[in-house]
């Protein structure tokens, strides 16, 4: 019998495969990082010279070939905030119902299927729905309200799925322990389930927000304006938005300096990165308080 301390051919082969797989997965990760770095690198190299406080806090001038992005920046923030106010309460409540109350039957399966399909609907279709429903039927006109509600409908499935996943990550045993003491479902949710799911929910919501900020199609026909050098006064006003503004200065306006679109893109991506960083920070903070 061979010594137990000598590697057999099978051991050596396994180790080689282990090394190969590790290298393969590592290489794929590097390939994933390269495009992100390139995009950021190009944007920073070309766009950074344009950016200044004045660029951030002034209006576009000279037929959008000069000046800053303030109305678009404010517009995007308004759109996102209103969309958030509309989608988060509905999405979280629906997810709580689906995760904590609904029984597993054909109806809940149908609802889950509908949610997944809603997430797969192309954004231009959401845009047309927004025009039909909010702009025309409800008579909001092309406005922040109509555009935000369209964005909200679009982000609902993501909010619902993220919330449901976070709720389901709370161990089942906690629920049974609470119910067995005579706690109602709501008492259990409020005291035990939600406090432990909130970090996941917030993360999902913030990631969704950052995605919403970059959407163009859904707001194009519902509330975003081509050029509107004023700040919005109410949710019934139209507004400029960063994503549409980038599209406009890149393709629709003649004689734009080369660097300007890069500057706009850099501001937009910075906005998204700031939100993602906030999400990351929040997650780290809440994980520090993880309870099991």
């Amino acid at each position: 019998m061979s010594s137990p301390f000598v590697a057999t051919p099978r051991n050596i082969k396994n180790q080689r495969i282990e090394q190969a797989m590790k290298s393969l997965f590592g290489a794929m990760t590097v390939m994933l990082v390269i495009p992100v770095m390139l995009v950021l690198g190009v944007l920073i190299a070309r766009g950074l010279p344009v950016i200044s406080w004045e660029f951030l806090f002034s209006e576009p001038t000279n037929g959008m070939t000069a000046g800053g992005v303030l109305p678009a920046l404010i517009g995007t923030i308004c759109l996102v905030v209103v969309a958030l106010i509309a989608s988060v309460p509905v999405g979280v409540a629906a997810a709580i119902y689906l995760s904590e109350y609904a029984k597993e039957n054909w109806l809940t399966r149908l609802i889950n299927l509908a949610i997944i399909n809603l997430a797969g609907v192309p954004s231009i279709v959401h845009a047309l729905f927004g025009v039909g429903a909010f702009v025309l039927f409800f008579g909001f006109g092309t406005s922040i309200l109509a555009a935000s509600l369209t964005l909200a409908i679009m982000s609902l499935p993501v909010v619902i799925v993220a919330t449901r996943e976070s709720l389901q990550a709370v161990p089942w045993a906690y629920r049974e322990a609470c119910w067995s003491m005579g706690a109602t479902r709501w008492q259990t949710i409020r005291r035990v389930v939600l406090p432990n799911a909130v970090s996941g929910i917030l993360t999902g919501v913030i990631l969704e927000v950052s995605r919403t900020a970059g959407e163009t199609a859904p707001i194009m026909f519902t509330g975003a304006a081509f050029f509107l050098p004023f700040l919005p006064q109410s949710v019934y006003d139209q507004t400029m938005a960063m994503s549409l503004h980038l599209f406009v200065v890149s393709t629709q306006v003649p004689d734009v300096p080369d660097a300007l679109p890069y500057g706009v893109a850099l501001v937009l991506i910075m906005l998204v990165l700031v939100m993602n960083a906030a999400s990351l920070g929040l997650r780290v903070y809440l994980r520090g308080r993880k309870r099991w």
Binding site: K103, E104, A173, Y174, R175, E176, A177, C178, W179, S180, M181, G182, A183, T184, Q187, R191, V192, P195, N196, R291, W292
Partner: protein, 253 residues
């Protein structure tokens, strides 16, 4: 059937979908006794406990036929199940320290039933932790997380939580499965004391634990209640069914 027996079970059968977990069970559990239920895995012991305070509702597809009377009232016709469950303490096999502080773990049930006064809660928490033989170990860190205690401590925390319900009936489902022997003996001592105040149903797969604690013992096997008898009598050979004898002797199970 004596009207005073807190639990009377008549022709109970329990099913999961089309599968039968337990059938044809008739028994009474007397006031202030420890009623032991022994039997190998899959014999229907846990399913039986679940029906007693209607925890069957938590399991998709679980349903039962027959009658279970709790203080003379049929649990099937109980109008508000929360009020039934509040009277029944449950201890599960694996300790479940809720992800709350030790204090809030024990205060959970009183809070749920509407106790708000801090002083009153303090009294309840201390009393229950003392009774569960945990107070001395945790009194200086009541704000630490209950879910981070050791397994044995969490199980005593679970018992303290069950006691905070001021239960008339305490259901224990193989409570010592994840607990060290020393803690097990401490909990067993606690149970002997609690007997004077409440009725205890002890499901265990440790035959000797039933022998130490139970006044009467039932033997469940593959969904059937084979035999019920005084624990002392069963262990001194007054057994009617061969299978019970074999199980008690450790020849299977």
């Amino acid at each position: 059937m004596s009207q005073t027996d807190p639990i009377v079970v008549r022709n109970l059968s329990i099913h999961y979908g089309d599968d039968t977990a337990l059938s044809g069970v008739n028994l009474e559990i007397r006031k202030n006794e420890i009623f032991g239920i022994i039997g190998p895995a899959g014999s229907g012991k846990t399913s039986f406990l679940r029906v007693l305070n209607r925890m069957d509702a938590f399991v998709e597809g679980m349903h039962f036929a027959g009658d279970v009377f709790y203080n003379g009232q049929n649990v099937k016709q109980w109008r508000n199940l929360y009020s039934l469950r509040r009277r029944v303490g449950v201890v599960f096999p694996l300790p479940v320290g809720l992800p709350l502080s030790i204090y809030e773990n024990v205060a959970f049930s009183p809070r749920v039933r509407g106790v708000k006064d801090k002083a009153e809660l303090d009294v309840i928490v201390e009393r229950c932790l003392r009774r569960a033989a945990l107070w001395d170990e945790v009194k200086d860190r009541l704000n630490a997380l209950g879910s981070l205690l050791s397994g044995g401590q969490q199980q005593r925390l679970t018992i303290a939580r069950a006691l905070s319900q001021e239960p008339e009936l305490l259901l224990l489902d193989e409570f010592s499965i994840a607990v060290d022997p020393v803690t097990t003996m401490r909990i067993e001592d606690v149970l002997k004391e609690l007997k004077s105040e409440m009725t205890i149903v002890l499901v265990t797969n440790l035959v000797q634990q039933a022998r130490r604690l139970a006044d009467r013992t039932a033997f469940f096997l593959t969904g059937e209640c084979v035999e019920i008898g005084d624990t002392d009598a069963l262990f001194s050979g007054a057994v009617k069914d061969d299978r019970t004898q074999q199980y008690l002797e450790g020849r299977f199970g």
